[in-house]
Symmetry: C2
Subunit: 104 residues, 2 copies
Amino acid sequence: MSETPSELLRLRQSIDNIDAALIHLLAERFKATQQVGHLKAELALPPADPAREHRQIERLRRLADTAGLDPVFAEKFLGFVIAEVIHHHERIAGERGPAGAAGD
Amino acid sequence: MSETPSELLRLRQSIDNIDAALIHLLAERFKATQQVGHLKAELALPPADPAREHRQIERLRRLADTAGLDPVFAEKFLGFVIAEVIHHHERIAGERGPAGAAGD
């Protein structure tokens, strides 16, 4: 099987377009969380905000449910992204003293 | 500190908007990969396509680099999503006999 069926090609083109959009949105999201990290460091705000994180999880689970996405996956996804945010903020904190914003 | 600074609120609103967009795009991506799963099952195509996956990784790393996103994170992100796709396809395969499409 060397030829890819046209229907599969069509679906893969859509998946590739969606992936490009996801990458660009994630880039934009990390730009915003980097700003949050610097802002929290400046204002000496605590790094984590469990109440905010709880609201985010609940909201994304609801949105996922409406959009036909598994809410469990939506929550896992947020956790995956937040882990990276924390990793970024640890770097910011390392550059400018104790700080770092989790979640956001 | 009970009042959230307005700059932090502004950034969090952007993050929430971006997250809503991400969730909806992910929902759309899984709709497409579900179709791929059914199509591959119908056509008895092999579940995994390592060449396709390799091209996806290279492309997303390039896109991430241009967008200012860590290419290592982009690759981890694709891995995270593909793991969920495989999980979905295992379910499809379980429903209709041996099949399942990895990656896509």
